[in-house]
């Protein structure tokens, strides 16, 4: 049971660096919100502000309506999972799990019971006596999760918890975190630089760039209606194609830039359909499930996602076609999303 709200939260470091500009955000009880952005965008600082590890320069942070800016981390009833796991190296798994409860001064039987419950939930029962350095990466990750879970806090904070794992394990743990959220129905704030993690896990995505919130929306909306050029470019693999409209043969669109997702670019050989554009294959990247084909269109480059059996040679002549309904329009100056110019 916890709502979280940030209102005009700003963090300026003593060096004068503005890490976070005026972040305003409402997180509902039980919601899973991912804060995503490139490194240095202020997402980790935002999390540290929520945790109470950093003090905001101005603005308000509320948990269940109560201002918490003046509360120390221990008084906020939050738990946090760190990127490096931050397990206590001199304690075994049992003591790592029990530590937050011991600090809280709970009775020994209660602690033992909660540790047992948490260990069972995460499959850590056999590892009680091990020290962190005797655990694999995935096991350390589980202990870190467990140490957050035992507390049953109001809000869970995750700071890039999966980025130290190898790709296969990361996908597996990602699924576990999502199931965990379903089971606990607690409020999760999850910081990541990985757009795929943000998309797959969260109810809502907060996109940050250079200390500013760019967009707050459900994953699909962020993908289908990016608020600006940055958001459009950050989500999607391969990246969205951003080109001057004239490249696609669209006139009367001065001062605008047009974006089209690679899966919305049709590509083919032989007789072109009506309104198709002639292009030359520049780069072919087979990924197994599909082929990414980058074509040269005058000076511009455009990537298309083609079926895996479509494997043209470099330099081959092809046609491409984009549907006007799938174009994203941005102001070339500000980068903001704008509506499509009237068709001629």
């Amino acid at each position: 049971m916890a709502r979280l709200s940030l209102e005009g939260v700003r963090k300026v470091y003593r060096s004068g660096v503005v890490a976070v500009h005026e972040v305003t955000l409402e997180v509902a009880d039980g919601e899973f919100v991912a804060i995503v952005g490139p490194s240095g965008c202020g997402k980790s600082t935002t999390l540290a502000l929520i945790a109470g590890l950093e003090q905001p320069t101005s603005g308000h942070i509320r948990i269940d309506g109560q201002p918490v800016e003046d509360r120390s981390p221990r008084e906020r009833d939050i738990a946090m999972v760190f990127q490096s796991y931050a397990l206590y190296p001199h304690m075994n798994v049992r003591r790592n799990l029990a530590f937050p409860l011991e600090v809280a001064g709970l009775a020994r039987e209660v602690i033992a019971e909660r540790v047992r419950e948490t260990a069972a939930l995460l499959g850590l029962e056999g590892l009680y006596e091990r020290r962190p350095r005797e655990l694999s990466g995935g096991q350390r990750q589980r202990v870190a999760l467990g140490r957050a879970l035992v507390r049953r806090p109001k809000v869970f904070l995750f700071d890039e918890p999966l980025s130290n794992l190898d790709a296969a394990l990361r996908t597996e743990m990602r699924g576990e975190i999502k199931k965990l959220h379903e089971r606990l129905a607690a409020t999760f704030i999850y910081v990541t630089h990985d757009q795929a993690e943000a998309m797959t896990l969260s109810d809502r995505v907060v996109v940050m760039h250079e200390g500013k919130v760019q967009q707050v929306a459900p994953p699909r909306e962020v993908y289908e209606a990016p608020a600006n050029r940055f958001v459009a470019g950050f989500f999607g693999t391969p990246r969205i194609n951003l080109v001057p409209p004239s490249t696609l043969g669209i006139e009367r669109a001065d001062g605008l830039e047009v974006g089209v997702r690679p899966e919305q670019v049709a590509i083919g050989r032989g007789g072109p359909p009506e309104s198709a554009l002639a292009a030359q294959v520049y780069l072919v990247e087979p990924t197994g499930a599909e082929t990414w084909v980058t074509v040269a269109l005058g000076q511009a480059r455009l990537t298309a996602r083609a079926p895996s059996d479509f494997v043209p040679r470099s330099g081959e002549a092809v046609w491409i076609q984009v549907d006007a309904r799938h174009l994203h329009w941005f102001d070339a100056g500000t980068g903001r999303r704008v509506s499509a110019p009237p068709s001629p």
């Binding site: 120390s72 221990r74 946090m80 760190f82 990127q83 190296p89 600090v103 809280a104 350095r133």
Partner: protein, 271 residues
């Protein structure tokens, strides 16, 4: 054949090094066992522990060792108490003038002790600590603290910030996070520092000689230097006394050797 040659070279190097480091000590031990009237001979006809008996029996030598132990232990305890708290703050907490403080500490350690003898003497007399063993502790701690601060703050700095933050989020106050998480992890650093401060205090001569006048309050280095008689240098006794004076240090170092080694190399390998 090559590996045997290399093994031989290694053995020679080891012997050379051991001779260099242990030679003087062995010489000392031998001298202490040499009968006084046979010092001129290449080999004595017999060995004797008479010098030890004379040192430990005839003079308050045990008392002097106890004095040294007390002063060195008190200095070490004071330095660790201040040094761990200050080292933690310097490494992990943000406050104005951190660098300035470390720089100032370093500057203090550059004062030549001899230049401070007169003012310190007056200061100690003013507070009634002249000719008191306790009077040695503040000046010793002053000179040992900069080193303590530098070693310990670098030790705490090596510990990841996230460990401290995790402890904070897990409900610790800064002090509790320090005590429960950072301090146990900095243990090798504490042992290393403790040994260094202890050795420094144990060996200090100038202040001990100047500030203490009562014979029964002497520390070991002072007592050793005053062992010589008026007409004759009692070499075997001086040697015996030196051996006895060195033993506590050797014992202490061997006792904590494992800890110290891991302390000196900590941070070399990430883990």
């Amino acid at each position: 054949m090559r590996s045997r040659g290399r093994g031989l070279g290694y053995a020679v190097a080891v012997v050379a090094l051991l001779t260099f480091f242990l030679g003087p000590f062995v010489w000392q031990v031998l001298t202490s066992l040499w009968p006084d009237d046979q010092l001129g001979r290449a080999l004595p006809r017999s060995l004797t522990v008479g010098a030890y008996a004379s040192v430990l029996g005839g003079r308050p030598f045990v008392r002097w060792i106890a004095n040294s132990l007390a002063v060195a232990a008190a200095t070490t305890a004071l330095c660790l108490l201040i040094g761990t708290a200050a080292g933690f703050a310097l490494a992990k907490l943000e406050f104005r003038g951190r660098r300035l403080l470390l720089g100032a500490a370093l500057a203090i350690s550059m004062f030549p002790p001899i230049a401070t003898v007169s003012p310190l003497y007056l200061a100690l007399r003013a507070v009634g600590l002249r000719d008191q063993l306790a009077g040695l502790v503040p000046p010793y701690a002053t000179f040992a603290l900069p080193m303590t601060l530098w070693i310990l703050s670098s030790f705490f700095r090596q510990l990841p910030d996230e460990l401290y933050q995790a402890a904070r989020v897990d409900g610790c106050t800064p002090l509790l996070a320090f005590r429960k998480v950072l301090l146990p992890l900095a243990a090798p650093g504490l042992f290393t520092t403790a040994i260094l401060v202890f050795i420094f205090s144990w060996n200090e001569f100038l202040y001990a000689l100047t500030f203490l006048s009562s014979p029964e309050k002497r520390t070991v280095p002072v007592a050793l230097s005053l062992l010589a008689g008026e007409h004759k240098e009692p070499w075997p006794e001086i040697a015996a006394a030196s051996v006895v004076a060195t033993l506590p240090l050797v014992a202490l170092t061997i006792l904590f050797q494992r800890r110290i080694v891991s302390g000196l190399t900590a941070g070399a390998v990430k883990g």
